[in-house]
Every structure is written in structure tokens, then in C-alpha cells.
């Protein structure tokens, strides 16, 4: 148990861009975010003795050598796709509270727009596709090749069982876009969206339209975790990790044969995280929910316990997840309208909110916040944070 023993003490982010690209390598852009996080925390790189890189975008050894972390003693990569950053937040808390490391760096980023596009790498590298050879031999020959298609199968089934509507998916897209209008760093800042725009956008993989999909982005972010004791000497007001957990669907490597088709990694992880934190979903002042596609927000709100299964569609309607609503979700604009930097920006935004540094999009007096990750075929991670 690491409840309240660890905290986030530094955050860093690069600008987000599409055309013409970041102009940096994927390691370079992540190093820039890592340096910003060190600066934010008031730490020297040499003090970092643990690094948890995101899968497939850089190795801990390279980060350590580039930054000057001479005493690296804890390094690992969680193979959970977009659930990795919040899973790594949990692992960082475990590491510092057990003494395995003193200062953990969690970097992540990519040239998701100008580099190898997600939709291509997912289809061409059997080692990076969730399910690996299963996807190669049983999905790809039938044209199921990329994330929106995998998750569309889940969304369609949910719509069938619970009556979730296309307009409810649209409500998620609109909420994220509305929040992005309050965030000058968001790629979709200055580009408001209406339901008519949403419904007119072209289908990618039904029920997903273009505007159900996140924005492929060049960008990076990073955060630093240490113990509560060490945090006292640092620059920033710490953000405490009250509880965190991660989980997998079953089977995790194959989408179609799940006895409970809607059970994801979050289904078991969320109760564990809230139990550890000693709070309930109703206590959260905001939630940053991994929003690779619109339905995944509805699904995670349900599986995390913010509402019952089948009620997520109604939960997101009528401004329910907008600032001022019952649960502001993705106050930065999320992957859908800020930028897709692998979910790390969700952690950064949660920290900003709990420090009271979110500017025009600040949730008044935010005290407790939740952040989730979703990856691969439904891996899940969650953290409950407080100021």
C-alpha cells in the first residue's frame, strides 16, 4: 500500500503540433518534456534514479544517458498502450514508497502526426499490435487493422444493449472541444464544434466518425514522482497519490471471446483504486479520462463507477461532463481536442487542476481528481489524486 506516501512533484509538456511536425526526434521531444518537468520540480537530472518509458518510443537507458541520470536503479516499461502512463504513475508510487527508487521520471511522447502514423504502425508491426500474432492471423486478414475498428466493435455492441446513441458519442466530442476553447495550447483551440458539424463528419469505422477520433499529434509530456518526505524540499506544492490500480480485460489478447464483452481493465482496477484512496467516484471534482475515441469515455465512466453500466450515454449528455457539469471530464480538451500525447497530458492536466493552475478552465476549488488510462484491447489504469 502506497496511499498518500507518494506524490507528483514535477510536470513538463512540449507544445503540441501537427503540420509541419515537431522538428525533433521522438527521443528529442520527450527529453524536452523531461527537462521541463525537472525544472518545474526544482530537481537535477542526476537525482532521477528511476525511469518508466512508454512502450516503443525510447528506452530507459537512452533517457538516462541523455539526461545524465548516473544512478539509474529502477527501469521498466508497462506494455499497456495508452494505459501505460497512469499504470506507470502507480508503479512510480510503488517504487518510491518501497525505497526501490527516490525520484521516478515518467516520460512519453511521439511524432504521432509527422512520424509513422498510428494507423500505419498498428497495421505493419506485429510486435507492436496488441494481440500480436492473434491480430495478424485472425483480425487483419478480415480488414480489422486499427484501433478505431477494434473499439467500434465494442461501441456498436454497447449501443445495441443499452441504447447508447450517436448523439451521446457526439456529446463527448463536443465537451472536449468546448474545453479546448479555454486552453490556448490545445490543437483545437479556436475551432469550436457543433452537433451538426459532428453528425456531418465522415464515417471512419461506424459508429465512429472522424470527429469521434483523437487528433494525431507531435508532442510529449513527463511527470516526476517522489515520496511525501522528499517533496517537502521541492519547488511545487505536491499532488498526492491517494490510490492507483491497473487491470486487464479477459482475455486481454483477444477482443471477441470475452464472456462479459464490456469488462475492461478498469472494471476491477477502479474499485481497487477508490478503496485504497478511501473515497468514492462521487468525491471526484473532475476526471481526466483517456479519450482515444468518444465511446471509450462513456465506457470508462461506467466501468470506473461514475455511473452504472448502460448509463454512460445519459451521463455525458446535456453538459454532464463539461465544466460546470456534474463531473468535468478532460478539462484540457483531451486526446480528442487538445492533443494525443499517449495519455501523459491527462496526468499533467490533473496536476495543474489540483495546483489551481488551470487558468480559464480551472475547476473551482478542485481537491480530488481522477485520471485514467486505456490501451491496447482494453487494458486499464486509474489514479485518484488530491491536492
Amino acid at each position: 500500500m502506497f496511499k498518500d506516501k507518494a506524490c507528483i512533484v514535477g510536470i513538463g509538456e512540449t507544445p503540441f503540433c501537427r503540420k509541419p511536425g515537431s522538428g525533433l526526434s521522438e527521443m528529442g521531444i520527450q527529453l524536452k518534456a523531461a527537462v521541463a518537468a525537472l525544472e518545474d520540480a526544482g530537481l537535477k537530472a542526476a537525482q532521477i534514479d528511476g525511469i518508466l518509458p512508454f512502450p516503443n518510443v525510447g528506452k530507459a537507458e537512452a533517457f538516462a544517458a541523455s539526461l545524465g541520470c548516473e544512478n539509474l536503479r529502477f527501469a521498466a516499461t508497462l506494455h499497456m498502450g495508452g494505459a501505460a502512463p497512469v499504470g506507470s504513475l502507480r508503479m512510480a508510487a510503488m517504487a518510491v514508497s518501497s525505497g526501490a527508487a527516490d525520484y521516478m521520471m515518467v516520460p512519453g511522447g511521439w511524432n504521432g502526426y509527422s512520424g509513422a502514423r498510428v494507423r500505419e504502425t498498428a497495421a505493419n508491426d506485429v510486435n507492436s499490435i496488441p494481440g500480436g500474432e492473434i491480430a495478424r492471423d485472425f483480425y487483419m486478414p478480415f480488414g480489422l487493422t486499427a484501433p478505431p475498428q477494434w473499439y467500434a466493435l465494442m461501441a456498436r455492441r454497447h449501443m445495441h444493449e443499452y441504447g447508447t446513441t450517436e448523439e451521446q458519442l457526439g456529446a463527448v466530442a463536443l465537451a472536449m472541444r468546448k474545453h479546448a476553447q479555454l486552453n490556448p495550447a490545445a490543437l483545437m483551440h479556436g475551432k469550436p464544434l457543433t452537433m451538426a458539424d459532428y453528425l456531418a463528419s465522415p464515417t471512419i469505422a461506424s459508429p465512429y466518425r472522424l470527429l469521434d477520433c483523437c487528433v494525431e499529434t507531435d508532442g510529449a509530456a513527463a511527470f516526476i514522482v517522489t515520496t511525501v518526505e522528499r517533496a517537502r524540499d521541492l519547488r511545487q506544492k505536491p499532488v498526492y497519490i491517494m490510490g492507483a490500480a491497473a487491470g486487464q480485460p479477459y482475455p486481454a489478447d483477444e477482443i471477441t471471446n470475452r464472456a462479459d464483452f464490456h469488462r475492461t481493465g478498469l472494471t476491477n482496477a477502479a474499485p481497487e483504486a477508490f478503496r485504497m484512496a478511501g473515497v468514492t467516484p462521487a468525491d471526484a471534482d473532475f476526471a481526466q479520462i483517456y479519450d482515444c475515441f468518444t465511446f471509450e469515455v462513456i465506457q470508462q465512466l461506467e466501468e470506473a463507477g461514475f455511473c452504472k453500466r448502460g448509463e454512460g450515454g445519459a451521463f455525458v449528455e446535456h453538459g454532464g461532463i463539461e465544466l460546470g457539469g456534474r463531473l468535468p471530464v478532460n478539462t484540457h480538451g483531451g486526446l480528442l481536442s487538445q492533443a494525443h500525447v499517449l495519455g501523459i497530458a491527462h496526468v499533467v492536466e490533473a496536476v495543474r487542476q489540483l495546483r489551481g493552475e488551470a487558468g480559464a478552465r480551472q475547476v473551482p476549488d478542485a481537491e480530488i481528481g481522477v485520471v485514467t488510462g486505456w490501451g491496447d484491447f482494453g487494458d486499464g489504469s486509474i489514479a485518484v489524486l488530491r491536492r
Binding site: D137, F142, G143, Q149, R156, A205, I255
Partner: protein, 143 residues
């Protein structure tokens, strides 16, 4: 995928190991799933061991070939260059009478006619000398 991407061959199963055995049956125009001889349960995708009873004994049991549509997605914009010319097409999850589900396509039905619960039956589509894919058609009664 760039707009002027060259045509490329569709991805095919590698035909190795147990997955290869599954497709060898398809080449003989038979849909077979592993059935555990310990507890009698069917399973798909092929695995070395039964997750229910841990038995490593199993047989390739012939499927009735009948099932229903469990879920689907209509791909309008291909996200793999090999499928660009095939759009729109619909990957479909079929729930078989034996209880297992598999991903395939219903080939005699435009995506707009697909519905969850629609009865379908297996057919076989050779796509190369070595590979035959199990595909589905509307069940005779539903045509």
C-alpha cells in the same frame, strides 16, 4: 497511408503452429475449433491449454458453421493500404452455435443490412494458393 499509396497485398495469416492448423482445416473447407477433451468446452483462438480445466488434451471439433452476428463495424475509410479498394466493408464478430466467437466478414450483405442477431453460416474464400479464409453468408432461412 498516403493518398497515392501503391496497391499492396492484404495481410494473410502466417500459417504457423496451432493457428496454421486452424487455417489448414479452412483450406479443406471445414470450420473446426479446438474442443477440450477434459471438460468439453470449445475455444477460439487456438491455445495450448484449456483455461477452464488446464487440460492440454483437445481435438479439432467440426463446427455446425452456424452462428449469429454479435457486433460489427463498417469501415468506410481504410486504415491499411491493402483495404483501400475494398471500402466500404464490414468486419463482423460472429457468435457460433458452439459458443465461441470469431472475427470475419459477411460477404453477401452490404454493411447497411447487417444487424446484431442476424443468422449467418460459414463459407470459404480461397485468397491464395495456401490460404482460405472462413467467411459468412446470410443463413439460408434469412436470405
Amino acid at each position: 497511408m498516403s493518398e497515392n499509396a501503391l496497391p499492396c497485398d492484404k495481410p494473410l495469416p502466417a500459417l504457423t503452429g496451432l493457428y496454421g492448423e486452424f487455417y489448414a482445416w479452412c483450406r479443406d473447407r471445414e470450420l473446426r475449433f479446438q474442443r477440450c477433451t477434459g471438460c468439453g468446452r470449445y475455444r477460439h483462438v487456438p491455445r495450448e491449454i484449456c483455461a477452464h480445466c488446464s487440460s492440454m488434451e483437445w481435438e479439432w471439433a467440426r463446427s455446425s458453421g452456424r452462428g449469429t452476428v454479435f457486433t460489427w463495424t463498417e469501415v468506410v475509410r481504410a486504415l491499411h493500404p491493402a483495404f483501400a479498394a475494398a471500402t466500404p466493408y464490414a468486419p463482423v464478430v460472429v457468435e457460433m452455435e458452439e459458443g465461441v466467437r470469431l472475427l470475419s466478414q459477411v460477404v453477401d450483405c452490404v454493411p447497411g443490412e447487417l444487424a446484431i442477431g442476424m443468422p449467418v453460416e460459414v463459407d470459404f474464400q480461397p485468397v491464395s494458393d495456401a490460404v482460405t479464409l472462413p467467411i459468412f453468408r446470410r443463413a439460408a432461412a434469412a436470405r
